[in-house]
Each structure stands twice: as structure tokens, then as C-alpha cells.
């Protein structure tokens, strides 16, 4: 058994090294003074100050945050409705279609989703004059559409793993359907909704392909700006940007873990 554990630990260790080596190298080189990536010119925050003076990147980042915030919120509302309908409404006409439409965006290649939405927007503009031109609005619609599928799947999974006794008790005590949903069901599925929102926010913030198809001139999101910079080669400013984003995510994940562990401990205490 021992020898096998050693082999396992070594291969798994290589796996983790593979996972983290590029990220760590990226972080270290974001503090490199020299512009040449492989030449170490000493520690410096030069690329960070250049990053914050780069108006194009800052504007794109602000636009991306705005789009991600709005689409994640819309996706949570629509996705929760869809997930709720699929797991709590029993059989109804069109259920197969809805569940197909919910799972399909998850396996759809991004290039197809992007192209099809763009062609739809162009056709709609020709027919109804809406949406007039493409930009922030069309990106939000596109992101909401593919993010709501993720939210629906998460909410559906949470609802079907949860028993209905609490909801039935509330019904017996005379709760109206709307207060039943908002006072009982919603708080119970809140963790699923929060993780759905966070996932949608991240996916929207990260999306390059779909946004490139449906955005208009002058509406470059952060991934689009990064992609056009990076295509030509490695740029130290992007290293700095990546480091900041990794730091934010790491802090978020650690905080979430800490919170979960504290909750688990609080639940465990009374026993």
C-alpha cells in the first residue's frame, strides 16, 4: 500500500504543479522590471502603474463589470424561474422543450451561439428596427441567455435534493403561493442562487467569443481588449492585470471556504 501511495502522491503532485506553475510564473513576472519576459530586471510595480494609466483597459474593465453585473442578475431571475418550473411544477405541456432548451446552451460551442445570436439581432433589426445597432444591450442579452442555463441547472439540482416537507408545512399553515415561494422556498435555495449568480458573473466577465460576435464598434469588453493585445505576444501589463484578477478570485474563494467552515462548526456545536 505504501509504495502505491508514494506513486499516487508523486503523480498527483505533478498534476498540481501543472495546474499552478503557469499561474505562479505569471504572477512573479508581473513584478518584473524588464520588458523582456525571460530577463529578470528586479522587482517593480511599473506594469501595475501602466495598467492603471491605460484608459482602454480601464474602460473595457468597467464595461465588462457592468455587463457581468446586469446579465448575472437577469440570468438569476430567469434561471431560477426555469429551474423552479422544471423541478416543482410536475408535468406540463412543453416541459421537454424547456428542459432541452436549458441543457442545450451548456453543450453548444460558443462560436455557434455567438453567430446565431448575431444573425438574429441583424434579422430583427431589419424587421422591427430593434435592437438598433449592437453594443452593450446585445451583449447583455447574449450573456443572460447562456448564463441562465447554468443557474437553472444549479437551482434545479438544489430543489430536487431538498424535500418538500417545509413547503408543505407552510402550505398547511395557510401560506399563499407567493409568500410560500418568497418566505420559504427562496431562502432554502438561496445558496444555489448565490453560486449561480457568482458563476454567471464569472462566465460573463470571461466571455470572449460570444461578445465578439454580438458587440458593436466601440464596445470592446475586457476579454476582447486582452485578446487583441495578447494575440501579438506576451505583454507585461496583461500579466499585472491577470495577477490582480487571480488575487481577487483567490480572496473570494478563501473567504467562501472560511465562511462555510465556520457555518459547519456552528452547526456541529450543539451536539
Amino acid at each position: 500500500m505504501k509504495r502505491r501511495s508514494l506513486f499516487l502522491n508523486i503523480t498527483a503532485g505533478f498534476g498540481f504543479l501543472f495546474l499552478y506553475a503557469p499561474i505562479i510564473a505569471l504572477i512573479i513576472y508581473s513584478f518584473n522590471k524588464s520588458k523582456l519576459v525571460t530577463v529578470w530586471g528586479g522587482w517593480s510595480l511599473k506594469w501595475y502603474s501602466e495598467l492603471f494609466n491605460n484608459e482602454q483597459i480601464i474602460n473595457a474593465a468597467l464595461l465588462s463589470l457592468k455587463i457581468a453585473f446586469i446579465s448575472a442578475t437577469l440570468a438569476v431571475v430567469l434561471g431560477t424561474m426555469a429551474g423552479f418550473v422544471l423541478s416543482r411544477f410536475g408535468p406540463f405541456r412543453g416541459k421537454m422543450i424547456l428542459s432541452g432548451w436549458i441543457t442545450a446552451p451548456l453543450v453548444m460551442p460558443e462560436v455557434i451561439t455567438g453567430l446565431s445570436l448575431l444573425l438574429l439581432f441583424v434579422a430583427m433589426e431589419g424587421m422591427f428596427g430593434w435592437p438598433a445597432g449592437r453594443g452593450t444591450g446585445t451583449i447583455i442579452i447574449a450573456h443572460t441567455t447562456f448564463c441562465m442555463a447554468y443557474v437553472a441547472v444549479i437551482v434545479q439540482a438544489r430543489l430536487s435534493s431538498m424535500d418538500e416537507t417545509l413547503e408543505e408545512a407552510a402550505m398547511d399553515l395557510g401560506a399563499k403561493p407567493s409568500s410560500l415561494f418568497f418566505l420559504v422556498t427562496l431562502p432554502l435555495i438561496a445558496p444555489a442562487i448565490i453560486s449561480g449568480w457568482l458563476l454567471s458573473f464569472t462566465l460573463s466577465l470571461d466571455d470572449l467569443v460570444i461578445a465578439s460576435f454580438v458587440s458593436g464598434p466601440g464596445n470592446s469588453t475586457l476579454p476582447m481588449v486582452i485578446f487583441s493585445k495578447v494575440r501579438l505576444g506576451v505583454t507585461p501589463e496583461v500579466n499585472a492585470l491577470a495577477t490582480i484578477m487571480i488575487a481577487i478570485v483567490a480572496i473570494g474563494v478563501i473567504a467562501a471556504m472560511y465562511q462555510m467552515r465556520r457555518q459547519a462548526r456552528m452547526l456541529a456545536k450543539p451536539q
Binding site: L8, N9, T11, A12, G15, F18, L19, P22, I23, A25, L26, V37, T38, L78, M81, A82, V85, S87, R88, F89, G90, G100, W101, T103, P105, V107, P109, V111, I112, L115, S116, L117, L119, L120, A123, G126, I141, A142, T144, M148, E168, M171, K176, P177, L180, T202, L205, D206, L208, V209, I226, F227, V230, R231, V234, V238, A242, M245, I246, V249
Partner: protein, 318 residues
């Protein structure tokens, strides 16, 4: 879900049994709760495919938008002229370039999925065997990169693999090679990129399958004289098959249509269908051809997967 449930939104039988008059309002509520997400997905997910199909039958034109219309209507003369152009599809099958692109996407995705499995298995196995807090930490370490930008993770490999990049410098300084290797802009770099970015999608389903593995089975096998590698192939692997299948699908499907990884890490000769579609659209501005590529991709790649998944869902339901 049980059909005997008494929740108001579940089934019609409950609304027949109770005579509260707010039931009427529930049905309205019920209708709109079903209707809103369906309407949204209908307009922004389903109808777009009809539009793509329509435009794949059009011809390119120097116009805004750059394609011809299929219908010409003239109400005064009272005729509708329908013109369907199958040329895009014929071209797609005649020109070996597109067939090569489809095949090479499948090949690249399949090879990378296999290597993702190889890298992911020990990680998943180690996490499944770790205890308590250590397990949580290792899981978080696997999930953490998944929450960071996909684009930036691909970009990180550019700095790693380029001619004067870290891998080459390391190998040169160790004296293993005397000439820097061309690693970036090759198929090899694309494999690495896919394995790297999709690793969490493989580790998580594998972990949930391996976590359920009963360790006493392995002990029993060992007591009966089974060698470790035998018990791995005879016990661990067969029991992990559901996780392997789920993980492979989660990696293979998005990898086939991948655009960012071949565009940043691949060479000009790395053919992948997602990239072909992108170039057809953004460089050649041939919208009908891009649509035809998308429709064929949908029929050949996405539909079979949807059907398989659907079949699996039914099996699970039984």
C-alpha cells in the same frame, strides 16, 4: 418528484380538490412563471438557429447585411420568389479543407480528453482518499483556477512555451537541449492548453465517483493476493467508469468547438472548426458560409451528444 405532493404549483389535481378562489390566480402565476423563461429562450436560443439555417441557404452579397434574401415578394404582381442556395453546403463537402477541419477538431479534442483523464485521475484519487480538512483544501485548489479567467490561463501558457519562454530557458540551463524548441504555435501547445483549462471539469466528476469507492474492496483484493496495479484495473477503474464518462463528455464537447486555445496557442496549420467558422465570419465576411459551417457542426457534433445525454437522463430516471 412525487405526484402526491400537495404543493400548490405542482399538479392540477390539487387545484381541483381545493376550492380556494386564489387558485385561479395561481394558474395565472403558474402560466407566467413557465412562460417568461420559455419565451426568452425561444426568442434568444431557438429562433436564432432558424435564422442561421435560413442564412446558410443565402448567397454572399456586397450589402448590409452581407447576404441575399431568400424571398422576393411583389404584392402588385402577386408572386413570391423563393431562392434557395445549396452552394454553401455543396462547397462544404467538395472542399477537403472543411472535412479536414471537422476531423482534426475531433482528433485534437479526443487526444486532449485522453490526456486530461491521465492527469486528472491521480489528482481525483488523492483528493478522494484524503481526509477532512485536507480534502477541502485540495478540492479548493482544483476549483480555484476554474474561477479565474479562462483567457488569462491560456495566456499564461504563451509565456511558458514561447521560444525564449520559461520551459525553453529551463531545459537550456539544465543542458537537456542546446537549441530552443518550437513549442508555441504547434498542435502540442493546443493539447496542453486544452488539458490545462479543462482539468477541473475532469477532476470533479472523477472525484465524486471515486469518493464513493469502498476501500474495503481494495483491502479484500489485496488480502486475496491481488497486486496494486491489478486491483486498480480490476476494481478501481471499473467502479470509476461513470465519473470517467461524465468527465470525458464535459471536456470533449467544448474542446471540439474551441476557438481561443487554437487561436492563441496553435499554429497557422492547426485546423479546428471553431476557428474556421470565426475566420469565415470575421476575415472573409462570408456570413452564409459561416452559417453553413455552424449548421453542419450542429448536426454532426452537437445533436448526437444531446441525444446521448437525453438517453442517459432517461436511464437514470428509471
Amino acid at each position: 418528484m412525487s405526484t402526491t405532493s400537495r404543493l400548490p404549483w405542482i399538479n392540477e389535481s390539487s387545484s381541483l380538490m381545493t376550492k380556494y378562489n386564489f387558485m385561479r390566480r395561481i394558474n395565472w402565476g403558474r402560466f407566467s412563471v413557465v412562460g417568461v423563461p420559455m419565451l426568452w429562450l425561444g426568442i434568444f436560443f431557438f429562433v436564432p438557429f432558424l435564422v442561421v439555417f435560413k442564412i446558410s441557404l443565402a448567397e454572399t452579397a456586397i450589402a448590409v447585411p452581407p447576404y441575399t434574401s431568400l424571398f422576393e415578394m411583389d404584392w402588385e404582381e402577386a408572386y413570391i420568389n423563393i431562392k434557395l442556395n445549396l452552394g454553401n453546403y455543396l462547397y462544404l463537402f467538395e472542399d477537403a479543407f472543411y472535412l479536414d477541419a471537422y476531423l482534426s477538431s475531433i482528433k485534437i479534442a479526443a487526444v486532449s480528453t485522453f490526456f486530461t483523464l491521465l492527469v486528472a485521475f491521480p489528482i481525483a484519487y488523492m483528493i478522494a482518499r484524503a481526509d477532512g480538512p485536507k480534502r477541502g483544501l485540495l478540492l479548493a485548489l482544483v476549483i480555484l483556477p476554474f474561477w479565474t479567467s479562462f483567457l488569462l490561463r491560456v495566456y499564461a501558457w504563451m509565456g511558458f512555451l514561447k521560444k525564449n519562454g520559461i520551459v525553453n530557458e529551463f531545459l537550456l540551463s539544465m543542458g537537456i537541449i542546446d537549441q530552443p524548441l518550437t513549442l508555441l504555435q504547434t498542435d502540442f501547445a493546443v493539447y496542453i492548453g486544452i488539458v490545462y483549462t479543462y482539468l477541473p471539469f475532469m477532476v470533479l466528476p472523477l472525484y465524486s465517483a471515486l469518493e464513493k469507492l469502498d476501500m474495503t474492496l481494495l483491502e479484500a483484493a489485496e488480502d486475496l493476493g491481488c497486486r496494486p496495479f491489478q486491483s486498480f484495473f480490476l476494481i478501481t477503474l471499473p467502479l470509476a467508469i461513470p465519473g470517467v464518462v461524465a468527465g470525458c463528455l464535459l471536456v470533449f464537447i467544448p474542446a471540439v468547438g474551441e476557438f481561443v486555445i487554437p487561436a492563441l496557442l496553435g499554429g497557422s496549420d492547426t485546423l479546428m472548426i471553431g476557428r474556421v467558422l470565426w475566420d469565415e465570419f470575421f476575415l472573409n465576411r462570408d456570413w452564409p458560409m459561416a452559417s453553413a459551417v455552424a449548421i453542419v457542426m450542429l448536426v454532426v457534433l452537437v445533436l448526437p451528444i444531446m441525444l446521448i445525454r437525453n438517453g442517459q437522463g432517461k436511464e437514470e430516471a428509471i
